[in-house]
């Protein structure tokens, strides 16, 4: 087994050249406020100490049940939310506490986001021209007529007709709107795109199209993706590596093949057992693991391992000590006391 120290040394010798983004023990707690003076009466620990890095050009999938903090993680690392604690390092620079003006100058152009709801992510009162021009206007890219030409070019890039430029979002279907959202995200030539449930609201056949489009664009522009979804099969299709979250924490992180063929964490095993897999000859049928109990509230997470209230393998230590998130095999990280 490799300790964290050795890992850091190894990273230091290899250099961080291929690491685009790194999260170090990032937390995002939402205060619960009530009363006349908005007194603080508690915290929702939506993201409670996660660490991982994203390499340039890869697709990192993030999976987990609803409410486990996937969206909050994405929005915090793109600095839509101020992190409560921890460090976000983008291209070697700590961006955790940059001001909005500094972010605009250095970061906004490089990381963009695609949202879940194709009906809520486009302003219903703006034309496609104005929606896709907004990033170009904000950062003052291109001049005069060139800006509109650029908008038309982007529309065609995402498989829409350039003549749609004067239309309003309500005239389009969910899949087409998602393409508009992608065109807006592409306008600034970002290095990285966070896709938060980007296909979850779409029909299965349309999902496939959007994923194909995203893959084509990744190839063409060398994009790095963080692909958030609760759908394990979609994540399996698009990701290079997959991280599994539970109650604000990262439970397991490994290469896609490794995670799906050799899941180590009891939570990952339970999640995967619920996904129907095509049966191959000679491969034993996977036993479906039903998790007992309710998902605890992130306002009051269990002590020790947050998963212990539902874990079929839990033992005494789990109830008292928080397991470290550590590399137990090459590039396979797990937070569980079973692996030491």
């Amino acid at each position: 087994m490799i300790t964290t120290n050795e890992l850091e040394e190894r990273n230091a010798t290899v250099g961080h050249s291929d690491t685009l983004l790194e999260l170090k023990d990032v937390k995002k707690h939402f205060p619960i406020k009530t009363g006349f003076l908005q007194k603080n009466v508690g915290q929702v620990k939506a993201v409670d100490g996660i660490s991982f890095s994203i390499k340039k050009g890869e697709t990192l999938g993030i999976v987990g049940e609803s409410g486990c903090g996937k969206s909050t993680a994405g929005r915090t690392l793109i600095r839509l939310y101020e992190p409560t604690d921890g460090k976000i390092i983008f291209k070697g620079k700590d961006i955790s506490h940059l001001s909005e003006a500094e972010l605009r100058k250095d970061v906004r152009k490089d990381i963009q986001m695609i949202f879940q709801d194709p009906f809520a992510s486009l302003n219903p009162r703006k034309t496609l021209r104005s929606i896709i021009r907004e990033p170009l206007d904000t950062h003052n890219l291109y001049k005069g007529k060139e800006r509109d030409e650029k908008v038309e070019e982007l529309l065609e890039k995402v498989g829409l007709d350039a003549s749609f430029i004067n239309r309003y979002p309500h005239e389009f279907s969910g899949g087409q709107r998602q393409r508009i959202g992608i065109a807006r995200a592409l306008a600034l030539h970002p290095e990285m795109i966070i896709a938060d449930e980007a296909v979850s609201a779409l029909d299965v056949s349309i999902q496939a199209q959007i994923i194909n489009l995203m893959e084509d664009l990744q190839e063409e522009f060398g994009l790095t993706y963080m692909f958030i979804s609760h759908d394990l099969s979609v994540v399996r299709h698009i990701s290079d590596r997959v991280g599994v979250m539970y109650l604000g924490k990262m439970m397991e992180l490994a290469a896609k093949k490794e995670i799906y063929s050799n899941p180590l964490h009891p939570y990952t095993q339970a999640l995967l057992s619920a996904v129907p897999v095509p049966r191959k000859k000679g491969v034993a049928k996977r036993e479906r693991i039903i998790l007992k109990g309710e998902l605890p509230s992130p306002a009051n997470p269990p002590a020790g391992c947050v998963f212990h209230t539902r874990c079929p393998a839990a033992f005494d230590l789990c109830r008292q000590v928080v397991p470290d998130f550590q590399e137990v095999k090459d590039n396979h990280f797990v937070a569980c006391h079973l692996y030491k």
């Binding site: 006349f36 498989g159 056949s205």
Partner: protein
């Protein structure tokens, strides 16, 4: 990279999806939806007639509204006096026309004032949130907890009632509904995904507020304004009816109604209260119809 089967042409022709290829502006869509609502259209036409009549009162009115002809008092409607005359022999039709000017002026001006205050404070409360929000909303609660009719009566007794004071009082008391409404809109819009998208782009805050949030909150604001005009006209009539509104001899619908509230007049000269009573009723109802029509027409979620 492996492709998943494409079930749909990636650049589907819009006609196939039943979508017209001609371009519609937002305004055209709103207008089309509004005109489909019969009651709203009727209400709108009626209001246009009343407003034009009020503006053209000096041209249309056959008599001066304050000209008394005591010999012809309380005469029945005739060719000479279309709606009859009042206790002082003044032409009721002419007085209704001039009364419309006052009632509508009070309605429009006070609502303009209350909407401005309400939108400003509601927007701050909703966008900034936290303690600022709590303070503004507690202030709203305090104002709402005062029974407004008593406050109105007190204020009107302290300051001599007049058009300007009435407008001021209605504006200063009426903004709370708008503030609550706008706060709610801003609160929900500021975490909507298209606003988050603007933030990830780096759009500046003032631009986000004025080009994304406010235009989407405008529908409810306009609807609430339309409905409030009706409410203010009713409230002004109520005050005048109590003798605390517009003071005679200046005509307003409310003080005309008050003047007619005498038992013998009600019994023998029924046409007198009928004029102002109907005008108040119809105007308020029409503002409500138009308000409802606008609400549906401006809501992008309601399809044609």
């Amino acid at each position: 990279m492996a492709k998943i089967n494409l079930a749909e042409n990636p650049s589907p022709s819009l006609e196939l999806h039943g979508i017209k290829t001609t371009r519609d502006t937002m305004l055209q869509i709103v207008a089309r939806k509004f005109f489909r609502n019969k009651l709203a259209v009727i209400g709108g036409i009626f209001l246009i007639v009343i407003i034009s009549a009020a503006l053209l009162a000096p041209v249309i009115a056959p008599y001066s509204p304050e000209k008394q002809k005591l010999l012809e008092k309380l005469s029945v409607p005739s060719r000479e006096h279309l709606l009859g005359t009042d206790r002082f022999g003044r032409d009721i039709f002419s007085r209704l026309l001039y009364g419309a000017r006052i009632s509508l002026l009070v309605g429009f001006a006070s609502v303009l004032g209350s909407i401005t205050i309400g939108t400003f404070l509601g927007a701050i409360a909703g966008y900034v949130g936290g303690i600022v929000d709590a303070l503004i909303m507690r202030f709203v609660d305090i104002i709402l907890s005062i029974p407004s009719i008593f406050l109105l009566i007190t204020l009107v007794t302290i300051f001599k009632p007049g058009v300007d004071k009435l407008i001021l009082i209605f504006a200063l008391l009426g903004w709370t509904t708008t503030a609550r409404l706008v706060r709610g809109e801003f609160l929900s819009l500021r975490s909507r995904e298209f606003v988050l998208a603007s933030k990830t782009i780096g759009t500046k805050t003032h631009k986000i507020i004025f080009s994304h949030i406010l235009p989407n909150a405008m529908g409810p604001i306009i609807v609430s304004a339309t409905l409030s005009i009706g409410y203010v006209i009713l409230a002004e009539s109520g005050l005048s009816y109590l003798g605390l509104g517009i003071q005679p001899p200046v005509a307003s619908w409310g003080n005309m109604l008050q003047d007619a509230q005498n038992f013998t007049i009600l019994l023998n000269s029924w046409w007198y209260p009928l004029g102002p009573g109907l005008m108040i009723l119809l105007t308020v109802v029409c503002f409500n119809f138009v308000g409802d029509g606008l609400r549906d027409a401006l809501d992008p979620k309601i399809n044609e």
